[in-house]
C-alpha cells in the first residue's frame, strides 16, 4: 500500500479492519485502530516509521511532564493569597515554558533536518560561490517519512494546548500514538486538534448501516474527483509545466487553470476518502475544504481551502506574534495615531508575513514555494488595506456590494488570482516559474484555441468533455451544499430503488470515465509529498 488509492487499501485493508474492529470489545477498539495505523504507516514509510514513533514519545513525555508541574503548582498555590499565588504560578510557568520549547524544538528540528538540509546546503554553496569563498558544504539527502509535515504540526498543537491548559494530558502512551498516527489522516491530514478528535478516536463506536453507507458515499465522491478529473488532466499538466518554453501565454493560462482544478480535486478528493473512511468507524474528522471557489476575497478563500492548516497557523503563529507584549504596546500607540482600522495593521502585517513565509516553506523545498507564500501575503495585505477605499468608491458609484453581480465579479477575481498562485506553486523551479509568468503576461494569445491545437497537448476532446461534465456535477453538488442543502441526506431519503440507482450510476460513472490504463499515469498524492 503506497496510498489510499489502491485496491489493497479498499478491498483488503479496510474490510479486514472492519471485521476485526467489529468483533473486538468496544473498550479495546481504539487499540485495533492503533495497530492498523502503525501497519499502514509502516507500509508507507518502512523503517522511517521510527521518526513517527520518536515524535509520539516526545509528545507523550512532554504532556506528562507538563501535567506533573501543573499538579505541583496547584498544590503549592492552595490556600494562599492572590499576590503570592501569582509569584508561585510565574515560577512554575517558566518551567512549563522550557518543556514546551524543548518539545517544539525537537519536532521542528527533525523536520528541518530531514526536509530542508539539502535546500539550505545548496543555497549556502551558491552564496559561497557568488562571494568567491572556497568552501563547499556536502549536500545531505534524507528520505522523508510520509506525512511528517502533518503529524509534526499535530504534535506541536498537542504540546501547546496542554501547556495552555486547553486540553487534559493524555496519560496513555497508546492513545497519544493513535491521535498522532491515525491511518486515514497520516498522509495528507487534516491536521486535527486533540480536543476535536480524541474522544471519538477512543470511543469505539460500532459500525452502523448509516455510518457505513455515508462513509462509502463520501469515499466514492473522493474517487470520482481523483480518478475522473485529477488523473485525466495529468498528461496535459505534465506536458505544459515540463515544456513551458514551447507554449504561448494562452496555453500557460490553460495549464494554470487545469493544475488548480487538479490540485483541488486531488486534495479535496483525498480528504473525502480520509473523512469517509473515518466516518465508517464513527470518527468525525475536521473538514479541510468548504467550497473555496465560492469565496469573494482571497482572505476568505484561505478560510475555506486547507482549513486545518490555516487555522493552525492562525492559532499558533499569527495570534501569538500579533498579540505578544511588544506588539500590544505598539498597537495601542498606533491606534491613537492611525485610528481603529489601521492601528493594528503593523502587528498584523508582521504576523501575517511570518505566517505566509512559513506557509510557503511548509509546502515544499524550493524558492517557488516561498514566492507562492509571499504572493498570497501581498494579496491578503492589499485586500485588507484597500477594503475601506473600495467601500467608499462603491458607495459613491452606488454599486450594491450585496448584489449577485458584484459577488460573481468578486469570485471571478479570486479565481484568477488563485490560478496565478497555483502556477507559481506547480512550476518546476523558480526560473521556470518566472518564465511562465513572463509568457503569461507578455505572450498571451488565443491562437492555440482557435486552431484547436490545444486538443493535442496530452488530452483530447473526449477528455475535455468528460472533465467538463464531471465538473458540472461537482459544481451542482457544491452549489446545493453552499445553500445548506445536505445532498447526502437528500439521497438517503429517497426510496430504495432510486437510492441504489444513484449509487450504481455513480460507481458506473467512475468505472467508465475514470482515467486509468494505457496512456494515463495517475497523479501521485500531491500533498503527501509535503
Amino acid at each position: 500500500m503506497k496510498s489510499y488509492y489502491s485496491l489493497t487499501y479498499f478491498l483488503a485493508f479496510i474490510p479486514l479492519l472492519m471485521i476485526i474492529y467489529s468483533i473486538t470489545p468496544k473498550k479495546k477498539r481504539w487499540f485495533i485502530l492503533l495497530i492498523a495505523s502503525l501497519i499502514f504507516s509502516y507500509s508507507l514509510s518502512g523503517k522511517l516509521i521510527v521518526y513517527l514513533i520518536s515524535s509520539i514519545i516526545v509528545v507523550y513525555l512532554s504532556g506528562i511532564w507538563l501535567k506533573k508541574i501543573n499538579d505541583k503548582c496547584e498544590k503549592a498555590t492552595e490556600n494562599i493569597d492572590k499576590e503570592e499565588k501569582k509569584i508561585i504560578k510565574a515560577k512554575y510557568n517558566k518551567k512549563k515554558k522550557l518543556i514546551l520549547i524543548g518539545s517544539i524544538l525537537i519536532h521542528v528540528g527533525i523536520l528541518i533536518f530531514l526536509k530542508y538540509s539539502e535546500f539550505f546546503a545548496t543555497n549556502i554553496n551558491t552564496l559561497f560561490e557568488a562571494l568567491n569563498i572556497n568552501i563547499h558544504l556536502p549536500i545531505p539527502k534524507f528520505l522523508l517519512p510520509i506525512g511528517i509535515s502533518f503529524y509534526t504540526l499535530q504534535a506541536i498543537s498537542y504540546s501547546i494546548d496542554v501547556y495552555r491548559g486547553l486540553i487534559p494530558t493524555e496519560k496513555h502512551l497508546g492513545k497519544v500514538a493513535l491521535y498522532m498516527s491515525f491511518f486515514p489522516q497520516i498522509m495528507e491530514g487534516p491536521i486535527c486538534r486533540y480536543n476535536e478528535t480524541a474522544d471519538s478516536l477512543y470511543e469505539g463506536k460500532s459500525i452502523t448501516y448509516h455510518n457505513f453507507t455515508f462513509g462509502i458515499q463520501r469515499i466514492m465522491y473522493g474517487i470520482l474527483k481523483k480518478c475522473v478529473i485529477a488523473d485525466r488532466l495529468n498528461p496535459l499538466i505534465t506536458n505544459i509545466f515540463t515544456n513551458y518554453n514551447e507554449f504561448n501565454g494562452g496555453i500557460i493560462a490553460l495549464g494554470a487553470i487545469a493544475y488548480t482544478i487538479q490540485l483541488y480535486m486531488e486534495f479535496s478528493g483525498t480528504m473525502d476518502i480520509v473523512i469517509g473512511t473515518s466516518e465508517i468507524f464513527g470518527i468525525k474528522l475536521t473538514e479541510n475544504f468548504q467550497r473555496p471557489f465560492a469565496s469573494p476575497t482571497i482572505s476568505e478563500f484561505w478560510k475555506r481551502w486547507h482549513i486545518t492548516l490555516g487555522s493552525w497557523f492562525k492559532d499558533y503563529i499569527f495570534y501569538p506574534i500579533s498579540t505578544s507584549k511588544p506588539f500590544r504596546k505598539l498597537t495601542l500607540v498606533l491606534r491613537k495615531k492611525l485610528g481603529n482600522y489601521y492601528g493594528p495593521v503593523l502587528a498584523g502585517v508582521t504576523a501575517l508575513f511570518t505566517v505566509w513565509l512559513l506557509n510557503g516553506f511548509w509546502h515544499g523545498v524550493g524558492w517557488q514555494y516561498i514566492l507562492f507564500g509571499l504572493y498570497h501575503f501581498c494579496l491578503i495585505l492589499i485586500g485588507s488595506l484597500i477594503s475601506p477605499l473600495i467601500k467608499k468608491i462603491t458607495d459613491k458609484l452606488h454599486i450594491n456590494r450585496n448584489s449577485k453581480g458584484y459577488h460573481i465579479i468578486q469570485i471571478i477575481k479570486v479565481c484568477i488570482l488563485v490560478f496565478i498562485g497555483e502556477l507559481i506553486f506547480r512550476a518546476e523551479g523558480l526560473q521556470a516559474c518566472l518564465n511562465m509568468l513572463q509568457s503569461l503576461f507578455t505572450n498571451f494569445s488565443l491562437s492555440s484555441f482557435k486552431d484547436l491545437s490545444f486538443l493535442k497537448l496530452g488530452i483530447d476532446c473526449a477528455d475535455y468533455i468528460i472533465v467538463g461534465v464531471t465538473l458540472i456535477i461537482i459544481f451542482i453538488i457544491s452549489h446545493l451544499e453552499e445553500k445548506n442543502i445536505n445532498v447526502r441526506e437528500l439521497i438517503a431519503k429517497q426510496n430504495i430503488i432510486l437510492r441504489w440507482a444513484i449509487y450504481y450510476a455513480f460507481i458506473l460513472f467512475i468505472i467508465i470515465f475514470g482515467a486509468y490504463g494505457h496512456g494515463y499515469v495517475p497523479v501521485d498524492p500531491i500533498y503527501a509529498q509535503f
Binding site: 495552555r164 492562525k314 495570534y319 498579540t323 498597537t331 493594528p344 498584523g348
Partner: protein
C-alpha cells in the same frame, strides 16, 4: 453590552450583532479586525485578553465576548 455592540458596529456595520452567532465561523470578522477589536476591548474595558482566549467560541457572538470580558474582569 451596548458599548460592545457600538465597537463591533464600527468594525463592520453590515452585521446584526444582537442575533449573529457565527461572527468568526461565518467570516464576518477577519484576523486584522480581531486584532483591532482586541485592542479596543482591552482599552475600553480595562482587561488583558491573553492569546489563549482568542478562540472562535469567545468571539462568535457579542454575548460570548461580553461573557469573556466579565470573566476576565473578575479574574483580574
Amino acid at each position: 453590552m451596548e458599548r460592545l455592540i457600538e465597537i463591533l458596529s464600527d468594525l463592520n456595520p453590515d452585521v446584526d450583532y444582537k442575533t449573529c452567532t457565527d461572527l468568526i465561523d461565518g467570516h464576518y470578522l477577519d484576523s486584522l479586525s480581531i486584532l483591532s477589536l482586541i485592542a479596543e476591548l482591552e482599552d475600553e474595558f480595562d482587561v488583558v485578553i491573553p492569546t489563549v482566549e482568542i478562540i472562535p467560541n469567545n468571539f462568535n457572538s457579542a454575548a460570548a465576548m461580553w461573557k469573556m470580558i466579565n470573566r476576565l474582569q473578575e479574574e483580574e
